[in-house]
């Protein structure tokens, strides 16, 4: 491997990580943009998503590393699993919002944020008690297709998670920019009171933002499982913290910012493992965050949040 190949390989690793972080970061940013709430339950909605995807795949007969599929059945099974996982996680997010956060709407202070931390732990413990703490062997139906680019290796699973991430991010961008409810979301983000006066149903917008962000967390959980062939009860905290950092780095509340932040964090993680050492990865990532915030307090692309005045 030449150093060019090595750089390319680490870029491939970093982009894959970045895709997972970006999808997760979008969830933080969407909810924050509309409610100014840091939703910590997002960490474990992601983890639950990867468990859902694992259980669905297993129910469909895809178990461990032994079942390998290809062609139309593979695509069908992946699309089906992705859709059901996103729906289930979306429903989970909506119920968290409807039953636990809506009653707290309008209460000043950190009550809602604390609630999301509590919900996060409840989800964590529910999974811990039902599925156990051991690392699960996430089903991997992908054929072992590999391309060599110089000395670097590109696997089908990496291409797949990039494609899923790009499609979902593209879909989200379209949704927010060009649909009626998307416009309502942007309006609410700018000024909830004015939006309400203009006839926007704020409750519906909030619910929608929770649905979308949780569905994206579910998708992220599934591609996490496909990428690492692993599901475990404690994956939410590590990945969630990086993704949250990505959202802040890009400018929280800012949709393109979250995508860019996610990819940057993924790339930095891969490169610091190469150059400095894996033990130092957190130091590098969080130093970068501090540096960016010192010079651009609102994040790379600027912070977007409801107008308080």
């Amino acid at each position: 491997m030449t150093s060019g190949d090595l750089l390319l390989q680490q870029a491939i690793n970093g982009l894959s990580l970045g895709s997972i972080y970006a999808l997760l970061a979008l969830g933080f940013t969407l909810v924050y943009g509309i409610m100014e709430l840091i939703n910590f339950s997002h960490f474990n909605v992601f983890m639950v998503g990867s468990m859902f995807a694992m259980l669905i795949l297993q129910a469909l007969g895809v178990v461990g590393q032994e079942t390998v599929m290809s062609g139309v059945p593979l695509i069908a099974i992946l699309v089906f699993t992705l859709a059901v996982t996103m729906l289930l996680c979306g429903a989970l997010g909506v119920s968290i919002e409807r039953f636990l956060l809506r009653p707290l709407r309008g209460i000043k202070g950190p009550a809602a944020m604390i609630t999301t931390i509590g919900v996060s732990y409840v989800l964590f413990n529910l999974v811990l008690l039902t599925l156990g703490t051991d690392a699960k062997n996430f089903p991997n139906p992908l054929p072992p297709i590999v391309w060599q680019i110089g000395g670097a290796t590109l696997r089908l699973r990496e291409v797949l998670i990039w494609v899923i991430a790009i499609l979902l991010m593209g879909g989200l961008t379209y949704f927010v920019q060009y649909t009626k409810i998307g416009r309502a979301m942007r309006a609410t983000a700018q000024d909830p009171d004015a939006a309400r006066m203009m006839g926007v149903e704020v409750d519906r917008v909030v619910m929608m933002s929770f649905f979308i962000s949780s569905a994206l967390a579910g998708a992220s959980g599934m591609i996490f499982g496909l990428y690492y062939n692993l599901a475990k009860v404690d994956i939410g905290f590590a990945a969630g913290l990086r993704a949250f950092t990505a959202a802040v780095l890009g400018g929280i509340g800012n949709v393109p910012g979250a995508m860019i932040g996610g990819v940057i964090i993924g790339l930095v993680e891969a490169m610091s493992g190469q150059v400095v050492g894996t033990a130092w990865t957190d130091v590098v990532i969080f130093s970068l965050l501090v540096l960016v915030l010192v010079f651009r307090p609102a994040g790379l692309l600027g912070r977007l949040a409801p107008n308080k005045s």
Binding site: Q10, N13, G64, Q65, I235, M271, G273, G277, T278
Partner: protein
């Protein structure tokens, strides 16, 4: 840490053995009580039952044969696991140690299973002068003279082992890799934990001594999920082998990702990666080919010990594990010590038993010759090497059939 063998064939069964001894004892015999402290409930319960069986069997045999004239043994089991901890609990282990120490009829003990429990028990046992023989706890600190003030405050060795320690697991494996696997260069990883770092340090020092080129050393965060960056770096460096000091939490992810990135490299670790959690979490083919070690001789497949396995199976309706044999031998040491004292016409008091254990020399036991150094460590330190080889005929998460015994790693 202790080896994390999980057991499979375990049925119920050992519980019935709790009150043995006294019934078989002759009415005239004086009863000597032996404490067994293991983690009988929680995560390590299955293993504890099989380990305890070894000790129980040895004392039953001794009573039956009237091995020591005028005395019989009674085993009392205490559990150092609690429901809140879900596994061993150092506070409970300390309580159990106090129970043993405060009752004068206890002359020796077997256990504990876990090093964390051992660290809590050792100072109390030392003050009480009660010797214990651990069949499975491998943390070197407890018998390290450097920490004598902490773990043997009364000055004399009381924490004896019939297993080797982690200070040998790493170096002996380094010898094995240099001599047998002909490894010339290596990359060393650990999982940031006390056990993992210690094991990797000890491995690395010996590897360098053996002339293996250490191409790098890095630390995995067990909570992180992605090790692709460091593994890509290792692949580019191109060492012959990878050594990992650590347990399953980072290990499972390391197995998976290293299989993707460098499927053919020689990969090895300690007893932290021996067990069903690796087989379940990483699965095949990611597990295939990994080497692992254990700090005890592998006796359960040894034809010489078939008689022991048979007797064990007959008594408990399940098969022994390696630490059942170390526990059996620990009991034999206690019996031999008592026998020696009685033969000399003295009273087998707690102090006398402790001193006699220190001087014991069993020429031939299930695990080979047994004698202790002045700190309580067994002199003949045996590290067994295993390699994961898929055996499709057996359950894929059963360590007994998926970890293939290779042999003994040469002593450093």
């Amino acid at each position: 840490m202790i080896s994390r063998r999980t057991t499979f064939k375990a049925a119920a069964g050992v519980a019935a053995a709790a009150t043995l001894g006294s019934q078989q004892a002759l009415a005239a015999d004086k009863v000597l009580r032996i404490g067994i402290d293991l983690s009988f409930t929680g995560a390590d319960a299955e293993s504890a039952a099989r380990v305890a069986g070894g000790g129980v069997l040895a004392f039953e045999e001794a009573n039956e044969r009237h091995e020591v004239k005028g005395y019989s043994f009674e085993v009392v089991k205490l559990d150092d696991a609690t429901a809140t901890a879900g596994q061993y609990d150092p506070a409970q282990a300390a309580t159990n140690a106090r129970k043993f120490v405060s009752d004068k009829s206890f002359v020796a003990a077997l256990g504990p299973q876990m090093s964390g429990a051992g660290k809590a028990m050792a100072p109390i046992l030392s003050q009480g002068g009660l010797a214990t023989i651990t069949p499975s706890s491998t943390n070197p600190d407890i018998t390290n003279p450097k920490f004598a003030a902490q773990y043997m405050p009364a000055g004399k060795a009381i924490y004896f082992r019939t297993v080797a320690t982690d200070a040998y697991q790493g170096p002996n494996m380094a010898n094995y890799m240099a001599d047998t696997l002909k490894v010339k260069s290596i990359f060393v990883l650990d999982d940031s934990g006390a056990y993992g770092v210690g094991l990797a340090d000890a491995f690395q020092a010996q590897a360098e001594k053996k002339g293996i080129k250490v191409m790098g050393r890095d630390r995995l965060d067990p909570k992180a999920t992605d090790y692709a960056a460091i593994l890509t770096k290792i692949k580019a460096l191109g060492p012959d082998a990878l050594y990992y000091g650590g347990v399953g939490q980072a290990g499972v992810k390391l197995f998976k990702q290293s299989y993707d990135i460098m499927p053919t490299m020689i990969k090895a670790g300690g007893d932290g990666i021996y067990g069903s959690d690796m087989l379940k979490g990483a699965g095949f083919p990611a597990c295939e080919g990994w080497y692992a070690t254990n700090a005890a001789p592998h006796v359960t497949e040894d034809p010489k010990t078939a008689k022991f396995s048979e007797a064990f199976h007959k008594r408990f309706n399940q098969f022994p594990e390696d630490y059942s044999a170390t526990c059996y031998v620990g009991a034999q040491v206690i019996i031999a010590a008592v026998k020696q004292i009685v033969a000399a016409g003295k009273e087998p008091t707690r102090d006398a038993v402790r001193d006699a254990i220190g001087g014991i020399n069993l020429k031939d036991s299930l695990i080979g010759p047994v004698a202790f150094d002045e700190y309580g460590d067994v002199k003949n330190k045996i590290i067994s090497v295993f390699q994961i080889k898929q055996n499709k005929a057996k359950p894929l998460d059963d360590p007994d059939s998926q970890f293939k015994y290779i042999g003994i790693a040469p002593q450093a």
